[in-house]
């Protein structure tokens, strides 16, 4: 008879375990551990809102205080998922309102949130504290006002890159008149002006405010006035960083910044006038995170700023930094962990992107702690990739976007197979990988063979045949999310590795050669997968062998979803198209 740990003791032990992955493992040990774990889990993460029903989640985790949900597939960010696909937050909010009234934190990503939803949140959760919406849409500033006015204990309200119907800046005035408990406020994605006086008053009565991200409508003057009232900020997102050049304006700005002695993170910086950048010099030595990705500033000005940021860990910047600027980063920012370089001209035809592979090589050589990279450039070489892999085996996230599809190594004209082989082999802790450029099936053989810890893989315009997909699905053991577009593989590899799909969160394929017949077959054989064909033209109007436009496959215990729009085909919806009998739950 095995020694049974009293549940009280187990509870106490579990109170030290925060990671959901660990908690998931704990819950698999035995029934009593499962029970104890589920009753003590406070932070619940659901990576795909259609993988499980809200009721099931509420039932399993009665002590839930924080819920994180993700809706649309990642490629929705790039307009590959038509509007109306799904990802509605309402059913979840309704269910939680009824079953988990003690919920305090809701974080949603890529979901459709309505004003009704927001009002429901405000009305249902008495102790509501945290609302973070990332890449969400479907609501207006009225919904925000409801949250602001009703949630008396609100600490965090962040709208990150959401599409919000902006009905004006009034919502700011809805916060409680007495002091607020706000710690973080992010309204950077809103368009319209807010009254500076409202903002000033809000900031003045929010003594705990640490993070504030303004929208581009806030002027430099406004910023100065805010900073004066909130010198304790650790994170700041400026508004527009341009104004008529006036010496006193500059001095005021400079002084305001120099008073912010705790500032660690800086973002916003829209429309930067380079002459105002020196106002930031005083905070540079303390900065750990700097987002210059909207600042259209030339390299010399960028370098002047960056050479003062010796503690910088996270840098987002545009390719205007050029290779030379990245060389400077490599020598001054020795603590750098994350680098993202965005194209200033996000155009397929742009041929003069000022960064080349050399820039990334510099940073890889100079910044020993570099572990996360997102890099856009026109072309690349195997040699550079090999160097990067050799220098930075500690890379965890490597996303390279060679903008020209099918671009080979421009020096040798070979595919970039060898380069990505080096990355997969050398960076043993790689968890996220995006490949691009000319790649043959070989590249994916290497990736399948070596990238054992990769959980998320993004592929576009690559490969030659089914072998590519086969290598990935049969090789990458930790693969959880695979997204592919415009690659020439068909049904075989997919059907061959069907069972693998149940070990993954999701698979997205668009503009490949998977046929409708294969989708049907997959749906029929694998009831625990939802196979969605997202196609402008209903598949039944075409022969079964014709490829479908997009497929989204994800594992689920919730069964087929009921809220699919017209252009999403599922077997459940059209059982007459399927042939054999199917157990539909």
């Amino acid at each position: 008879m095995a020694l049974r740990l009293p549940s009280k003791v187990l509870k106490h032990i579990l109170s030290f375990i925060d990671s959901n992955e660990d908690r998931n493992s704990v819950s698999l040990v035995c029934k009593s551990w499962f029970e104890t774990e589920r009753k003590t889990r406070k932070r619940v993460f659901v990576g795909n809102c259609y993988a499980v029903t809200p009721a099931a989640v509420a039932r399993r985790f009665p002590a839930m205080r924080s819920l994180t949900l993700k809706g649309k597939p990642h490629f929705a960010d790039y307009n590959l998922v038509p509007d109306g696909w799904g990802g509605y937050a309402c059913p979840w909010i309704e269910s939680m309102a009824a079953k988990s009234p003690y919920l305090e934190e809701i974080r949603l990503k890529r979901m459709v949130v309505t004003d009704d939803c927001l009002e429901r949140i405000a009305a249902s959760f008495k102790n509501f504290k945290v609302l973070v919406l990332t890449s969400c849409e479907g609501f207006s500033t009225d919904g925000i006002a409801a949250i602001a006015s009703t949630c008396r204990n609100l600490r965090v309200l962040e709208l990150r890159e959401c599409i919000v119907e902006d009905l004006g800046g009034d919502w700011l005035s809805y916060f409680p008149e007495t002091s607020t408990s706000l710690v973080s406020l992010d309204f950077s994605c809103l368009d319209s002006e807010v009254k500076i006086s409202d903002l000033e008053r809000l900031v003045s009565r929010s003594p705990n405010l640490k993070s504030l991200k303004l929208n581009p409508a806030v002027t430099l003057d406004g910023l100065v006035s805010i900073l004066r009232r909130a010198p304790q900020l650790t994170e700041l997102g400026t508004g527009s960083f341009a104004a008529e050049l006036k010496p006193e304006a500059f001095t005021k700005l400079s002084k305001a910044f120099s008073n912010c002695k705790q500032l660690q993170s800086l973002s916003g910086l829209w429309d930067v006038l380079p002459e105002y950048l020196p106002a930031l010099y005083s905070v540079c030595p303390g900065l750990t995170s700097l987002n210059l990705s909207y600042a259209t500033v030339r390299m010399p000005d960028l370098v002047e700023l960056l050479r003062r940021c010796s503690k910088l860990q996270k840098l987002w910047v545009m390719d205007l930094i050029e290779d030379k600027g990245l060389e400077a980063v490599a020598s001054y920012c020795k603590e750098l962990r994350e680098l993202r370089v965005f194209p200033s001209e996000p155009d397929l035809d742009a041929t003069n992107i000022p960064v080349t592979e050399q820039g990334l090589v510099y940073v890889s050589k100079g910044c020993r702690k570099l572990e996360s990279v997102l890099y856009f450039c026109v072309q690349f070489t195997n040699a550079a990739l090999i160097t990067i892999a050799r220098k930075r085996p500690n890379l965890k996230c490597f996303r390279l976007c060679v903008i020209e599809p099918f671009a080979p190594d421009y020096k040798t004209n070979e595919p970039l197979d060898k380069g990505f082989k080096a990355i997969a082999e050398g960076c043993k802790d790689l968890r996220r990988l995006s490949v691009s450029g000319l790649l043959s099936d070989k590249a994916f053989k290497y990736i399948g063979k070596h990238a054992k810890k990769v959980r998320m893989l993004s592929i576009a315009f690559a490969g030659d045949s089914d072998l590519m997909l086969h290598h990935l699905l049969s090789g990458c053991e930790s693969l959880k999310k695979l997204e592919i577009r415009d690659c020439p593989f068909g049904d075989t590899a997919l059907l061959e590795n069907a069972a693998k799909l149940e070990t993954m969160r999701s698979l997205w394929m668009s503009s490949c050669f998977v046929s409708f017949g294969a989708c049907k077959l997959l749906s029929q054989k694998m009831p625990r997968l939802n196979v969605e064909v997202i196609d402008e033209h209903p598949p039944k109007t075409r022969p079964e062998s014709s490829p479908v436009e997009r497929i989204y496959i994800y594992r689920t215990v919730a069964g087929p979803r009921m809220d699919t729009p017209e252009f999403v085909w599922t077997l459940h919806k059209n059982p007459e198209i399927g042939v054999s009998k199917l157990a539909i739950k």
Partner: protein, 327 residues
């Protein structure tokens, strides 16, 4: 761990099964002589298996434990069996010897092509976007009902950049992979000088897909940025100059060689290629017949076809690039 829906031995899958050929999706049947030799090289290169045990490495569709090698039985999963099912799995190799590599390849390619061509013939009279044969369809702009967002972005973006320039701002959906939020923000800052208010589509940007036989992906052009056929023609030349006939199948690498000798324009002049468009009735017409305005109003999509394919299309000026500004 076995993840298969089929019954295939694990060991055989460690090596790249020669039965699973590198398929040439960009190839057309004309190029077979070029391709097969290339593909031969690819197959032989690097893979050590001399013993081509096709039977053992054959990937089949079947229930686990099913020993049936016959395709017929496998297809029994989908009944009734229609002729189209053969096309469903065009990649499954014949159970023949290695000698059939080339023929297989041809069959597969033409099989694929047949599938697409069938589709096309069936639906050429139907209004709708039909996938052109042979290429990967990259243009999946979600034209579903009201999807104003994505179109808006592309319009405002295009307007912002290409206000006066006749040069094409090629648009490919979702590429490069930059969040719409970022695109919008940058579009709004670059287009501050123009009349356009970002987010609002200008007086109808008119995007049409442009495809070319043998090109691996489609492009989109905004017809409103041009005022005559000449502009459209030079824009298309620039866009497609890297996808010339000689490079079918060898996507990217060789295609990128300085092909100054063989330019699209020359091909067009030499009537190797013709520019055609699909009009509102779903008919494919040669570009250049009608006045520009009418053309922009009726054109649904453009296609650069091989001259031979265009026989039988509505007669008209083949040399559209001899312009004749029909304003």
């Amino acid at each position: 761990m076995s993840y298969r829906l089929l019954s295939v031995d694990k060991e055989e899958l460690d090596i790249s099964p020669p039965g699973l050929k590198v398929r040439n999706y960009f190839g057309l049947s004309d190029c077979s002589s070029v391709d097969s030799s290339t593909i031969h090289n690819r197959v032989q290169d690097g893979e050590k298996t001399s013993n081509l045990n096709f039977k053992a490495t054959e990937l089949r569709l079947g229930l686990p434990e099913s020993q049936s090698p016959e395709r017929e039985t496998d297809f029994g999963l989908l009944s009734p069996r229609t002729p189209d099912e053969k096309l469903l799995f065009p990649l499954l190799p014949c159970k023949d010897t290695a000698a059939s590599a080339t023929t297989e390849h041809k069959n597969v390619v033409s099989g694929n092509k047949r599938g697409f061509a069938d589709t096309w013939d069936e639906f050429s009279s139907v209004k709708g976007s039909v996938r052109p044969g042979g290429g990967i369809n990259m243009m999946l702009s979600p034209k579903i009902k009201d999807v104003p967002k994505s179109i808006q972005e592309e319009r405002s973006h295009a307007k912002g950049g290409s206000n006066n320039a006749p040069a094409a701002k090629a648009q490919v959906v979702g590429w490069p992979p930059i969040r719409s939020y970022r695109k919008n923000t940058m579009a709004s800052s670059t287009s501050k000088n123009t009349d356009e208010v970002d987010g609002k589509p200008g007086l109808g940007a008119l995007f049409v897909k442009v495809s070319m036989d043998g090109a691996p992906y489609l492009r989109k052009v905004d017809l409103r940025t041009y005022t005559c056929y000449q502009q459209l023609s030079s824009a298309l030349e620039k866009m497609f100059s890297c996808f010339t006939l000689g490079q079918c199948g060898l996507h990217g690498a060789q295609g990128r060689e300085r092909m100054s000798e063989i330019k699209l324009k020359d091909l067009l002049h030499g009537s190797e290629f013709v520019l055609t468009y699909e009009d509102k009735d779903g008919d494919w017409m040669l570009v250049g017949d009608v006045p520009w305005e009418i053309f922009t109003e009726t054109c649904q999509k453009l296609k650069i076809m091989k001259g031979s394919d265009s026989i039988g299309l509505a007669p008209g000026a083949v040399e559209k690039s001899k312009n004749k500004d029909r304003v």
